[in-house]
Symmetry: D2
Amino acid sequence: MKALVYHGPGQKAWEDVADATIEEPTDVVVRVDTTTICGTDLHILHGDVAAVTDGRILGHEAVGTVTEVGGAVKGFRPGDRVLVPAITKCGRCDYCQRGMPSHCQTVGGIGWIFGHLIDGTQAELVRVPYADTSLYQVPADVSDEQAIFLADALPTGYEVGVLAGQVRPGDTVAVVGAGAVGLAAILTTGLWGASRVIAIDSNKFRLEKALEFGATDVFEAGQGTAGDVLALTDGLGVDVAIEAVGFPETLLTAASLVRPGGTIANIGVHGVPVEIPMQDMWIKNVRLTMGLVDTVSIPTLLKMVASGRIPAEKMGTHTFTFDQMTEAYGVFGNAAANAALKVIITPA
Amino acid sequence: MKALVYHGPGQKAWEDVADATIEEPTDVVVRVDTTTICGTDLHILHGDVAAVTDGRILGHEAVGTVTEVGGAVKGFRPGDRVLVPAITKCGRCDYCQRGMPSHCQTVGGIGWIFGHLIDGTQAELVRVPYADTSLYQVPADVSDEQAIFLADALPTGYEVGVLAGQVRPGDTVAVVGAGAVGLAAILTTGLWGASRVIAIDSNKFRLEKALEFGATDVFEAGQGTAGDVLALTDGLGVDVAIEAVGFPETLLTAASLVRPGGTIANIGVHGVPVEIPMQDMWIKNVRLTMGLVDTVSIPTLLKMVASGRIPAEKMGTHTFTFDQMTEAYGVFGNAAANAALKVIITPA
Amino acid sequence: MKALVYHGPGQKAWEDVADATIEEPTDVVVRVDTTTICGTDLHILHGDVAAVTDGRILGHEAVGTVTEVGGAVKGFRPGDRVLVPAITKCGRCDYCQRGMPSHCQTVGGIGWIFGHLIDGTQAELVRVPYADTSLYQVPADVSDEQAIFLADALPTGYEVGVLAGQVRPGDTVAVVGAGAVGLAAILTTGLWGASRVIAIDSNKFRLEKALEFGATDVFEAGQGTAGDVLALTDGLGVDVAIEAVGFPETLLTAASLVRPGGTIANIGVHGVPVEIPMQDMWIKNVRLTMGLVDTVSIPTLLKMVASGRIPAEKMGTHTFTFDQMTEAYGVFGNAAANAALKVIITPA
Amino acid sequence: MKALVYHGPGQKAWEDVADATIEEPTDVVVRVDTTTICGTDLHILHGDVAAVTDGRILGHEAVGTVTEVGGAVKGFRPGDRVLVPAITKCGRCDYCQRGMPSHCQTVGGIGWIFGHLIDGTQAELVRVPYADTSLYQVPADVSDEQAIFLADALPTGYEVGVLAGQVRPGDTVAVVGAGAVGLAAILTTGLWGASRVIAIDSNKFRLEKALEFGATDVFEAGQGTAGDVLALTDGLGVDVAIEAVGFPETLLTAASLVRPGGTIANIGVHGVPVEIPMQDMWIKNVRLTMGLVDTVSIPTLLKMVASGRIPAEKMGTHTFTFDQMTEAYGVFGNAAANAALKVIITPA
C-alpha cells in the first residue's frame, strides 16, 4: 500500500510500504477513504516530537471502511463505514473507565498513538487496535467530509475548550486564536448556550471565518484587545476564555480577559514555560484547565452534525487526493497565508 | 471601646476608639467574645496591603453576641450568639446569588472588608453590615473555641483546597504546607472520602500536627519529596495536590505531584509571578484552581463540628486576653518557632 | 388604586382598593406596566388553593416601574424598570442561600406569596417585599412584552423541565403537553444543546406552535404515541421526558417514553395521586423530578432574550388593558379553544 | 465441576455439570474461591424471574482465581486473584461508555447476566465474558471475605442509595430498611460526609447492626416513625431518604421523610405499582431515583476497604462450604430470624 512515511525532521514521502494487517484479535484494518492533516503533524515534521522515529506512517484522523476484523471484534464487520479518532482506548484501564482515554495506560500512557507510537492514517490502509472500544460507526446522514473533522479538531475545541471551560447558558466566551481548533470551539459553544462569543486573532481571514462559525464579535489582536473585550462585558471580563494557539502571550491574553469566578481553558500546545501573574490571579477565584482531547464527545458531536446543528463540513477549505499529499502539507503548513483551515484528502 | 488599630507598616496599638454603632438599617453591632489573628493580618502589618490605611481596626474573624440591630434586620436579635465570618455578602449581586461572595460587587468588589475596607473584629465591638445575609447563628453544641476557626481558616482550607480541588471518595490528596490553612484542608478532606492524605512541610511540629489532624502520611519537604510521594501512588501521582503556602516553589512542588486528570488547588497568597512548565503540563489534563474563600460552607462545617466529625478546636494552640493582643501577635507572627497554629483571644 | 380582587370560588372583581404602600424597610412599591395570568390563578378561582382568601389581590407576574423604596433598599430607585418574579426570596434562609427560594422559610415556607399569601400583581401598584434580593432590573434591550414571561412561565419550563431534567448536548427530549409552560421548555432546551425535541399534545394549534418554538417533531396524543416516539429513537426512548400538564395519564405517558438512565421531569401541578409502575421502573435507572420554580434562572434568561436567542415575546398571543381584565381571564381560561398561549395586560 | 443448578420454582441442586470453559476470545474462566447469596437469588427460586430457566447455574457474586484466559484477553493471566462483579460490561456500547453498564446493550440489554442469562458463580468454576472490561484485580491487602461484598451488596447500597441520592457533606440521611443493602448504604454514607444517618427497621437485630455500621440514630418502624425522624431535623425532614426494602409502604415512608429539595433514592426491587401522592409532592422540589447497580464504584470501594475506612467484612455473619449450599440458602432465606446479613461460601 501507499502511505506518508516520516524519515526524520523535514523528511517525508508518499511511498510504498507493507500493507496494514491484523496483529491482535482486537484489531481491525480500515481502508482510508478520507484523511486530513493536523498541526501536530507539522510539529512532528519539525522534529519536535522525539517519540516519532524514522519509518513511522503519519496521521491520526480518518474516515474509512472496515476491510478485515480480528477474531475478538464484536462491534464491527467488513464494509462498515467508520470514524478512526485520534485517541485509542483500551476500555479497561482506570483512565478509560473514567472517560479519560487521553491517558490510556494500556496503549502507551497516552491515548494518541496513531502516527506517533504506531503507524497512522495518512495511508491507504490503517490497523486500528482496540477497535471495539475505539472506533465509531458513521451514521448514513453524516458525510465523510463532515465526519473527518470529528476525529480530532472538533472534539478538541469542544472538549478541551468548551467542556473544560464549563461554558454554561448565558455565558460570554472569548476565544484567543481562530485557527481550526479555535473555530471548533466557536462552532460548539452554542451547545452549552453561550450568549456571546468573542473571537480574537491577528488574521483577518480567520476573523471572517469566526463570524461565519458563530462568533458574535471579533477583534484583531493588539494592544487594546483586553480593553475592547472588557468593554463588551460589565468591565469584569468574560466567563470563559479559551486559548487556542500555544504561546505564552496568548495564554496571558486569555488570562487577562477572564472575570472573577471564570475559567481559562488552554487548548494550545506549549513549547516553553509560561510566567503566570499569580500575585494578581490568586484572589480571582479562577481556574486554568489544559489537556489532550479524549474524543469521548464524538457520539454527541455525531448527533449534532446529523441533526444539522453543527455544520462540521465548514472546516474543510481545500481538497486533495492521496498523490497530492505533499501539496496538501504545503497548503496546510502555511494555512493562514493560504486562507486554509483544514484540508480533505481522499484516494482519487 | 478598645480596639487594635493599624498605624502604618509595623505600627499597631490596642487603644481607645469610638464605639461601633449602627450606620445602616441592615447593620448589627456585635460584642466580640472571641477573635483570632490571620496570616493576612501579618501581611497588612508588613505594609503589603495598600488598601489598609492608618486608623483601621484590624481583624476579620469573630464569635460574639449581638448587642444592637438595625431597623431592617429580620434574622438576628440582641443576645444572639453569632459567628462573624471573614466575608461580607450583600446577598443580591450576581456573585452573591451564585454563592461567590468573595467577589461581592456591592461591598467593594471583594467580600473581605473587615479589617481591610471597614473596621474589623479585633475590638470589643464590631459593626457588621448586611447582617441578615452575612452572619451565622452558632448552635448551642458548638463552642466559641470551635466556631472561631469557622470564620476563615477552616472554610479556606475546605473551600479553596478540598472543594475547588474536587476531592472525591477514594482519592489520594497531597497538602503542601501544614500551617493552619493546610491543616484545615487535611481536617476536612475526609468529608469527601479521601483514602490517603499526604502532608508535606519543612517543620516537624507541623508534620506531627498533620498526623493528628488526619494525614495518613507525612514527608519533610526536600529534594526527594516528589519521588517519595509518587512512590506512594502507582507512580503517576496524587489525584489532588493542595498548595497552602504561597511561594513559587511550593506551587511548583504541588504541580509536580499531580497525576494526569488531577487538580492543583492553590490556597496560598502569592506575591510574585510563578513560571509554570506549560510545555510539560498542557498534555496532562490537569486544572489549577485558586481563589479567596467564600465562607458559604459555614453551615456545613457547623453541622460537622456539632456532630463531632470535625474537631475544629484543635486549631487553637494558644490563648490570650484582649490586653495581651501584642503578645498574641508576637506568638502568631512566629508560629512555627512557637509551635503555634492559631491563637484564641478573649475579653478577660 | 384598582386591582383584581378574589372573593371566594368563582368570584373576582376589578375594583377599588387601598394603594399598595411600603410596610417594611426592605419593601419597594412597583407601578405595574404589564401583567399576565397564570394557570395557577385559574386554580385559585376554582377554589383549589385554600390559602387564598376573600379580599386577596391575585397575580404573581409583573413588569413595572419602581415608585417608592423602603429605607433599607440599596439596589433599586424610583424610576427603575423592574421584573417582579413569581418567587420572593429573603436571601438569608438556607433555601435562599442554596438557590432554592421556592422554599424560602422566611416568607412563608414557600417562595410563591404574591396573589397567594400577600396581595399580587394584577393591580395598578404592588408592594414587593425583600426587593433587593427578589427584583430584577430589566435591560434596555428587553421589552416589557418579553420580560413579562420571565416572571414565571419561561423559568418554570426551563428550571423545572430543562434544568431538573438535566438536558445535555445531543439529547432527545419529549415534552408532553404543549401549553404555555411546555412551550417554554421547548423554547429553552436549545440552551443545553438538545438534538431532537418531540412535542406531544391533543391540540393541533399547540402542536403548530411547538414547531414554531423549536420542536423538531410533533405527535397528536393517542394510543400509538409511545410507539411513535420510541420509533424516532433507537427503540429505547428519549433521554428526557418533560411532563407539562398535571394529570396521572400524562405523567405515565412521560414515564413510558424515557430510556434507561433518563429523567422524567414533572412540571405539572397535580391534584390526585399517581400510580407509578415501580415493578417495571425500578430497574431502569431513571429519576423522576418535580417542583416549584425558583426563578433563579432569570439573569440567564434575560441575557438570552437580550441576545436574541430566546424569542420570549412569542408567548404572548392576546393583549388586553386593565379594564378588560375579566375578558382576559375569559380568553385565557379557555386557552386552547381561543388559540391562546399567554395574555399581555397593560394599563391603557 | 459442581454447581448450584436451578430446576424451576422452588427446585435447586448442588450437582455435577460440565466444566466452565472459554467460549469467546474475550472470556476468562475463574475458579470460585468465595461466593455468596443475594436476595435476587431468592426471588429467582420463588419463580419471580421468568428469564431464568431450568438448568441455569445461579449466583452473580464471586472472588476467585483465573485459571484460563481467551486469546484476546490482555489484562488478566492465570493465577490472578479477581473479583467477579454482578454486572458484565462490554465496554463499547453507549451505556458502558457512559459508565452505566447496568444497561449494557451488548450482553443482553441488562448488565446482570450471571445466574440470569448465563451460568453463574455458585459453582466451582465460572466463565466470565468480556473479562478485560468486567473483572477487577483484588489488591493484596483486601481479603476474600471483604472483596466478596464488593461484587454486589456494597456497590448497590453505595451507588443506588448514596450516589443516586446525592448525599453531600453535612447531610442528614434516613435509610428505610436495614438489611444487607440498607446497611451497605449506611456503611458508605460517610464517604460523602453525612452528618447524621438514621436507620429505620422493624427488626431489632438489624437496628443494632445499623448502629455498628455507622448509623447515628435508629427507630423501630411504626406509626410514629415519620414524626420521630422529623423531630430529629428542623421539622422539615432529611436531605436524603434511602429505600432499601421494595414495598409500597416502605417507599411511601421514605417519601414522607424527605425535606423540600431532597432526594428519595429507591434501592428496593418492587413487584407491584406504588401510588405516589403527587398532589402533595409536586411542589416539594424532590427527586425520586431508582435503578440497578452498575458496579463501577468497585475501584473506589476497593481503595476504601484497603485503607481501612470501609470494614466490608462486617457484612458476613455466617460461613458455609460449597457442600453446605442448601444450608446456606436456608439461613439466608430467613435472614432476619437467623440474625444473618450475608453468608460466605467457600470450597472447603
